[in-house]
Symmetry: C2
Subunit: 502 residues, 2 copies
Amino acid sequence: MGSLQELIKEQGELVRKLKSAKADPAQIQEEVSKLLELKAQLGEENVGSQKLFLKTPKGTRDYNPEQMALRLSVMEKITSIFKKHGAETIDTPIFELKEVLTGKYGEDSKLIYDLKDQGGEILALRYDLTVPFARYLAMNKITNIKRYHIAKVYRRDNPAMTKGRYREFYQCDFDIAGQYDPMLPDSECLRIIYEALKSLELGPFTIKVNHRCLLDGIFAACGVPAEKFRTICSAVDKLDKSPWEEVRKEMVEEKGLDGAIADKIGSYVSRSGKRDLVDELRKDTELMKQPAAVQSVDLMELLLKYCEIFKIIDNLVFDLSLARGLDYYTGVIFEAILIGDNIGVGSVAGGGRYDNLVGMFDPKNKTVPCVGMSLGIERIFSVLETSIANKGMKTRTTEVQVFVAAAQKNLHEERMRIIAELWENDIKAEQSYKKSPKLLAQLQHCEEYGIPIAIIIGEGEIKKGEVTLRVVKTREEAKVARGNLIEELKKKLEIIGESKQH
Amino acid sequence: MGSLQELIKEQGELVRKLKSAKADPAQIQEEVSKLLELKAQLGEENVGSQKLFLKTPKGTRDYNPEQMALRLSVMEKITSIFKKHGAETIDTPIFELKEVLTGKYGEDSKLIYDLKDQGGEILALRYDLTVPFARYLAMNKITNIKRYHIAKVYRRDNPAMTKGRYREFYQCDFDIAGQYDPMLPDSECLRIIYEALKSLELGPFTIKVNHRCLLDGIFAACGVPAEKFRTICSAVDKLDKSPWEEVRKEMVEEKGLDGAIADKIGSYVSRSGKRDLVDELRKDTELMKQPAAVQSVDLMELLLKYCEIFKIIDNLVFDLSLARGLDYYTGVIFEAILIGDNIGVGSVAGGGRYDNLVGMFDPKNKTVPCVGMSLGIERIFSVLETSIANKGMKTRTTEVQVFVAAAQKNLHEERMRIIAELWENDIKAEQSYKKSPKLLAQLQHCEEYGIPIAIIIGEGEIKKGEVTLRVVKTREEAKVARGNLIEELKKKLEIIGESKQH
């Protein structure tokens, strides 16, 4: 027991150090979790059974008003781009029948959160928004729709919260379902990624594109047995995080692939380009024996052409190492990464075509071709939060335009009369909930929350039938007749550029 | 087995009948659920093991684009009122450590959804937004905040989906935390309920108010033993759904209360009024022996006075039968119901003061007084959906301003050039994803989705360097030079009142 207590002591000191150093809150929470787990091991109920409550579940967090203000403004920007492209929105339950999720995520299925069997159906939390979308289409026999969906999903992953990876996180999806002509919806998805990343001012970025059938063609040309296509694809997917040597090892040692075949794969997946890569692949006679490869090279050429028309070709790269982890992709796949200062953040958008997923839910296997994209909104938040912190900026968390203050005691009823009039006139206003707040405290509140105007009343003002109108920033004050208050206030808000936003 | 098969047949016919009669989708889903359960009982895997996937979990539903458009517009209205009162917003995880929820909901705790123990912490889905809010305050040592939170909560209740009661539903909360003067924050909560219900145009409504300490005082005066206060309170809470005779039966037969005591309670809880009830209670010498009653009658008088200043007194009633189910209330409680045409919908808002909840999470029991309200947004949606359906109105589900159409085959590349230019200029635009869509189909799409303007190109137009600009509603057409397209389009959108909303 001695050593466990020592561990707790050490861990406790670490937490205190991080707190006093104002370290990243996610990191602090991670260390607090460890501390609490150690304490729980010790079984010391008296140490703090109540304190044990005081955390969010592992891998999750609360969002405070500042974080929410940023998140909502980012989501609004993204939503406005989805709407610019004519998308509708839908919502689905946070959990699904377990069977809906089964067999859709390959090796990642172990990360699904199950609900306890409390009698009734067997349920699980949604792992992404794509599978529920496919279930929705099949269930409602919808054959075409363009929809966005911004909502939380759940993965029992090992959280790396300092890197912005959580067990509960938002996904931000846009998908086009319907039987259309090749690459027309696909290229629009890429254009939307481009517009979103531009509008969020995240700095330079690259969108990698590839085609699942081309990968399959390459695997076939290299001599990979068909039943190993998916597992080898999932190994290639790790190339963005691991060097080729490690991926090769996984292929050969874990997945039983012939070393020479792995080497051939290696010679393909190191290549990238644009039109030049299309031409190069067309000259590869071995590869061109694979019908899947011929067809998908043609499709990639078409995609690149459309991306030229959409003026996004400069941000695109045709990259044979791009594989994407999920099983359900059947065509074009893509992934956007930040370059420049934010290199290393990882993928900030991704997606692809999945033509067979809806059919998995249809009793007659009738399918609806789909292509879609997901913005890595949590990573985007992380990048923006860091950038705001670096610039020392302060985010306003309310939209209050006017604070109703009193200079003397017990004027709360008069304050209430005034504020009711402001609300009646759609002016965003607040006041202290104390009967006799100090004037200084009231004005400090205005400064802290960035409230532009204060109305100040005192007994003198009440007698004369007027109020003082104070511009918080400049401290400029003016007397206004009580009867003209709303009119004067609206004028003032107009002048200082704080009139109603709605 | 014969009779089970008959049941399935009958149930199947019922479903078909409802579907062909275009009955309420929620009702259809409820009956489909029953059908699937019957089929599952039969164990006929061949009947449709795949079809079994095609439902949402019991008590939940998807929201289609029309439902979402309405929901988002309602949420935006409510949010704008919360913001008018200076609220910030926060978010918490959808699940909490189970211990956080334990002991907060009294008899309703059995309705909590637990997550499966997959190793690690024991978790449960949140049951409301109030307990997570209290946990957030205690964990972050926040002593005052005014926040709103609109998010989903989960209750394993018996769903009555036709009445708009689901197992997954939105709550829409506004709370004021902090040590303030009596009834100042409380009366603002009532004012917000008033503003929200007004702004949603739900028709006439009444807000009932009462005080938990007054109820306790009444119970004491009637001779209820202190340990039975909460359980008797929970019986009184049923008075909005059940007649007094049933509630009395519960008190006497289930909860072992003396019949004479129950009758005394009955004589109180049938009373309601405004200032007159305050005066009446003050004259009740038996009741005035209870210090809790004296104090809470004073407080109710103060609340009524503030509500007069806030100009909401006409919609208020001081109602001694109002009890509220939850254990954590400690002061004022309130509930709004629709009257007039929408009587019977039930409560559309509710809340109260809960001064001890935060303290339950603090290791030193340090508490933060709170008062808050929750809008019954699901019921509000139901009322509005019915009213929209009755009026035969159609909700627009996208904000598309311009559709780019082609009058001949294979003009998709030119369409793409034009639409990219529109997007570049922040015009909301869409087009067909087919290379050669029929003109009629394109124009029909515009009418179906309420898109105001179509740009039409043909080979003739391309040669002459112009496009046709068509106002969908009036079918009025005009030729515009390709180079002036954006300018002319913006003018036209301005004229027909469809210029950019953001």
